[in-house]
Amino acid sequence: MSTIIPVKPAGEQIPARDYTAELLRRAAAEETIPAARLETVRLVLFQKAAEYAAAYTQNRCSTVTKEQAESFFRSVFFQLDAALLPLHSDSAALAALRDADISVLLETGQRNIMTAYEEAKAAFRRAYSLTKPFATTFFRELLLSFEKFCTGYDARFQADAVTLNDFYPLLCRQSIPVGGVLGAHFYYTALLHEGELLAAFPRQEVSAVLRIYAKRYLTAPDMIADNLAELVLLQWSGAALCGGTALTLQLPENAADILNSRYQYSRPETVCADLRNAVSQSPLADHSGIYGYIYPLLDKLAGELHRYFSSGKAAVILPAPAGLP
């Protein structure tokens, strides 16, 4: 489920959005690719975009609008993005642009786009089934958006145009680092891991946490607008930082006091280290999908927890601070 991972490794300079365009722009400015080669690349890309334009009008029309022409051009660039991003290295991508046959790169990109598209669909279907027992009304909108994605996506003429209804936030409010179908792949795969996280805990406990949380904020459980996995992870983090490692959301009665007193004068790094330690020792570490997904986010989560712990407000951040009935 992770053939295409559009997340840039740390230390890479160029953002994943509009990757190829930025790469070429820099290569031109820094002269890391010879001017003649850049011209060849440009001509191949224009030729491909012109082919798309002709195919779009079925050779019946000699003009397209500027917006349509731009869209074909973005599609071609997006195919290159899809070929270069999985190399996971700016220098490797640059080398590919310098030495590889651009047509071959475009073909690879097309294949990667289709793989990402199929994987994204499979990911959402699985994510939906895992999250269904707790799904809020927002999942209905996700479902409608998914229907459009799986029937209306145009990989040839508008490869980068995927409108995700991202009003359902991801864990730790992650932003989607890349556009198009790769962004959809990222979003739906993230939802899948969050679904797996929810399914890793006893269903009744998850429901109870959501019910208590909704009651505290005077709403119904199906109207919770927060990320469900985040609520569960916060609750579990509370339990874990109090010393528990089992997959239960049950907190000690005085959990808030314990956490406030333990971390009130500590640094965020301490909370993060303790949390990482707890996750590594918990059964969550056995689920490679969940572990790989949440581990890089623990830093952010710990920072959020520390913000409340340090001001003595652990009870505010824990969804069900008094424990479960």
Binding site: A21, L24, R25, A27, A28, A29, E31, A35, L38, R42, F46, A49, A50, A53, A54, Y56, T57, N59, R60, C61, S62, T63, V64, T65, K66, E67, Q68, A69, E70, F73, K121, F124, R125, Y128, L143, L144, F146, E147, C150, T151
Partner: protein, 280 residues
């Protein structure tokens, strides 16, 4: 070197000199059959007018220039004569791109509602040669805007309504239908193949019947309420046809294929003439 991502100059189709050459290649037919010809300066002026018109309409040319085909299409009109030949061609070129842009806007840039170049040229020719316009490009544009644009808007509104109904239907769908919508669509597409073929044949019969109805067929039953149909102007007849069925705005596949063959034949002729000229 700056890696420019500006596409328009690349997408601008053929270079001016190449367009000029193509325009001049129509001289053999224009002079041979109608006694008119363009000078290189005329050709340059027309090519520039075309480029400006494309740019003003917010469009990008993806194929060759429309001008040679437009000239060949309009030569039999009888209005491309004498000293105003170049000026008339330039006006028609400008009108073509203006109408093309307006029609695309009216059609909501929906690829299914794109009138082909040939179809647009045919409408322009019919307006241009009708007694109402009598070779007046401005009047032709006005007539085309009056008649074609509302129909295109009507078609676009129809499709928009369909889309809204589809969205409404969608929101009532059970979740499995949404979750596996692509698979359901594929299955339906395969199973309905036969029905679609039937529908196409029905469309063709319907078109024929409408054509007979509006242009005076042999069946007197059709002619009865439209006894004066053949005495109307082209604009009146077209308006009536399109009011009855806006989808008639688009020509049949057979007509499109016929036009495409004709355009190809002209291009071959022009290319041969240009080659001959070059050899001299």
């Amino acid at each position: 070197m700056e890696f420019s991502l500006m596409f328009s100059e690349q997408f601008a189709g053929l270079a001016l000199a190449e367009q000029q050459k193509q325009i001049l290649a129509t001289n053999h037919a224009a002079y041979g059959d109608y006694g008119v010809r363009l000078s290189p300066e005329d050709a340059e002026m027309i090519a520039q007018t075309g480029q400006k018109a494309v740019s003003a309409a917010g469009m990008v040319a993806v194929g060759g220039s429309i001008v040679p085909r437009l000239i060949r299409w309009f030569l039999p009109s009888g209005y491309l004569t004498g000293q105003n030949y170049a000026l008339n061609v330039a006006e028609l070129t400008e009108a073509f791109y203006r109408l093309r842009s307006e029609l695309q806007d009216a059609g909501g840039h929906d690829p299914a509602l794109t009138l082909s170049d040939n179809a647009l040229l045919n409408y322009m020719f019919n307006f241009y040669t009708s007694p109402t316009c009598s070779g007046d490009a401005a009047e032709m544009t006005a007539q085309a805007e009056n008649i074609l644009l509302p129909v295109m808007r009507r078609l676009a509104a129809g499709r928009e309504t369909e889309r809204k109904q589809q969205t409404k239907r969608l929101s009532d769908q059970p979740e499995n239908a949404l979750l596996f919508a692509d698979l359901i669509e594929q299955e339906r597409a395969e199973s309905s193949f036969e029905e679609e073929a039937d529908e196409e044949s029905y469309d063709y019969e319907y078109r024929s019947a409408m054509g007979k109805d509006c242009f005076g067929g042999s069946d007197p039953a059709y002619q009865e309420p439209e006894a004066y149909g053949t005495r109307d102007t082209y604009e009146d007849r077209l308006r009536r046809i399109l009011n009855r069925n806006p989808a008639m705005l688009f020509p049949s596949r057979e007509t499109e294929a016929e036009w495409a063959d004709r355009a190809e034949h002209w291009e071959d002729e022009d290319a041969a003439a240009a080659k001959k000229e070059g050899a001299k």
